[in-house]
Amino acid sequence: MDSTPAAERPVLTVDGYSMAYDTDEGRIEALKNVSLSIHRGETHAIVGESGSGKTTLAWAITRYLPDNAHDLGGAILLSSEDMLAKTAAELTDLRGRRLAMVYQDPSSSLNPSMTLGDQVTEVLRRHRAMSPQEARSEAEAALARTGIRNPAAMMTRYPHEASGGEKQRVIIATAFACNPELIIFDEPTTALDILTANQIIELFLELREETGVAALYISHDLGLVSRVADTVSVLYQGEVVEQGDLKTVFAAPAHAYTQRLLAALPRPQDRLAVAAPQTDTPLMSLENIGVCYYTPSLLTRLLEPKTVAQYGARHISFSVRPGELLGVVGESGSGKSTIAKAATGLHPFEGRIVFDGKVYDSARALDRAYRRQVQIVFQHPDGSLNPRETIGRILARPLRLYDLVPRAQIAKRVAELLEMVLLPPEFASRYPHQLSGGQKQRVAIARAFAAEPRLVICDEITASLDVSVQATMARLLVDLQARSGAACIFITHDLNLVRQLAHRIVVMRNGAIVESFAAEDTEQTDRAPYTRELIDAVPVLDRPAISATTEVPHQ
């Protein structure tokens, strides 16, 4: 035990720690020689893409590893006590009291059949030996501290009766309840919408100041990390490739992988958009489009007159000019995907669509010519391709359906499409499950452009990809748009990305349009308050843009 006084001694020290999983395909090393330390009051961020092992590190520290995991070496010290040597009883006593955790998805991390109050009091009664009444009042105070408006009512509610933000506050209150030495935050804001996420970040900063607790903050979002963390470790395939003070690492990243992560961050100032369209006559315009998801049945209307029809989106009108990229921004539930489904006839709608001068007043009216010229690409790469078909046949289908190419040339055209999206031609004979997420999304984009459309609707095509892959996907889309002259409706929740790509931006909220404006007018002062809030909520790193190197093959 080193003799440094308590104040300087790190709360958490991970020293050369390695571990591996036993799987059907043999032993896989998940963490290789990881070292880091966190002092009281310090927030150390672990940054890395999916599969980098950052969450595994969290389970290693809390000693909650699955049966097929094995520690290979190194030590994990909590206030210089080696966690690997702890017995099960010691661990149960230590967890919740000296070490706590905040999870990514609040709705699945709370017991659905227990009131929120009980889930806080049980920690107090377990570790601080409080009586039920003391625990209840202390829990109420803890909830109040996290900014929950009516803590007493919240105590009696069940998880499904609270919003995502409120549930995350309850989890945070539970974590801070016993004033632990270390709290691990595992992507606490990823599952929340931007505004709520912002509030949770503010709450985190306040509580950290108040309690001086040491925090390990795990995230894939570099922008967010720059606001909360003092020090950072960059994790790539289980190894810490870079570590140190956050400011210095982000200012001058030494390792190529860190550089690439930073470069991939979308910055509004790095404009990628193609040349703006010259003509003002719109290619397609939506007029007063409305999509209804639920109309109460006759019986329900009879018995509960107050139930009202529920609309996904209502009174939506905007237009797209040929070759233009229109950004549609909004949180989940804002109705942006509903409009994509309406525009491609996947869901019946009210109102009219005017495309290239022709009027369509219902989903059934969308004829084959319309469907060829308007293509759509979806969010989840895994769900976009039919697992039972080879990539070649998937790409050939639009060619055959619209017989764009004589039968003999189909194979050649498929190879061209693959090259167009930077994929080797021999992928044609592979099946979707043999490709990575990024590669599958490229095939989906190639399939859309195979029909030589005049408009491509991209419904959150980057949302399920890693940051680095998102950047290359955006650039690919813009290149294809330039080459084909097609217009594009780019739907996303990432304001910075859309400001990079779009000529015009439409902001949506709760099924209605807040406002629409040209991309360059985003920073204008007369923007609607909701838009202003969105802009402020997403921090932008002030690093100068660095040219992106080619993608690291592993993805």
């Binding site: 084959r368 769900g383 976009s384 078909e389 359906l401």
Partner: protein
């Protein structure tokens, strides 16, 4: 296939199934005696050198009767299930794809048919068709249809919302193309898994009908009937009851284990 053999269930299932299917396919030919031949001196004997599994009340060789009964019992189970699966899948797919009012109507009728316990429903149909193996097979097939239709419908519904199907609809593919090329190939997996498990259930119902005298009729060598005929002599030669009982259990277990292994191979997440 490799994944199926990886679990202990899978291995046990495959072993049992191979035994049962060889009996079902080659039983009549590898049987040592003619199943109907009387050995009137050797009546109601336990296992012996000449009769490996003993003899029944007429002195007929039990091993030969089991081997000879295998096709009628096992193929009965598979026949009834495939009948139920085909009819059920067609109804389920129609309900799943059509959606809206047709789906509602079909589901109400299915609920009506499922309102009665399956064995009761089968009993009613069997009395409607009159006893006999073919009638029993038809009855079990019809009784399985609503259950299978429901499973097919839910499989279709889960696939219909997948994005590659939405992309196909957006492209303007015809409905039949979508069903045949996009929906069915991916929905068939869970249907086959359920069908395999249901075969064991069909065999048990078939045997129960045989036992109640509503299924196969004498002189058939159906295992359920064998148990019911041997019950009278159970205290003089318990083997007459035990051997067909074990045969039914082995067959049912074989299909059950194989079905579970198949289900794990398809979606490992739901493994036990």
């Amino acid at each position: 296939m490799g994944r199926i053999l990886s679990t202990s269930n899978g291995v046990a299932g495959v072993i049992l199934l191979t035994i049962v299917l060889t009996a079902a396919l080659f039983g009549p030919w590898i049987a040592p005696y003619d199943p109907q031949l009387f050995h009137s001196q050797a009546r109601l004997q336990g296992p012996s050198a000449t009769h490996w599994l003993g003899t029944d009340q007429f002195g007929r060789d039990l091993l030969s009767r089991i081997l000879n009964g295998a096709p009628s019992t096992v193929l009965f189970g598979m026949g009834a299930t495939s009948l139920g699966v085909c009819a059920g899948t067609v109804i389920g797919v129609i309900a799943g794809v059509a959606g809206g009012r047709t789906d509602g109507v079909i589901m109400r009728i299915l609920d009506g048919m499922l309102a009665m316990p399956e064995l009761l429903f089968t009993l009613l149909i069997v009395t409607f068709l009159g006893g006999g193996t073919l009638q029993a097979l038809l009855a079990v097939g019809v009784a399985f249809t609503p259950g299978m239709a429901r499973i097919a419908r839910s499989a279709v519904l889960s696939v219909r919302t997948r994005e590659y199907v939405l992309a196909a609809r957006a492209r303007g593919e015809s409905r039949s193309w979508i069903v045949l090329r996009e929906v069915l190939p991916n929905a068939i997996g869970p249907i086959i898994v359920e069908a395999t498990i249901r075969v064991s259930f069909a065999i048990m119902i078939g045997a129960t009908l045989g036992f109640l005298g509503l299924g196969a009729q004498p002189p058939s060598t159906e295992w359920g009937l064998m148990v019911s005929e041997a019950r009278q002599f159970m205290f003089r030669n318990p083997w007459g009851v035990i051997i067909p009982g074990i045969a039914i259990a082995m067959t049912a277990m074989g299909f059950n284990l194989f079905g579970d292994a198949l289900r794990d191979a398809f979606d490992p997440k739901r493994s036990l």
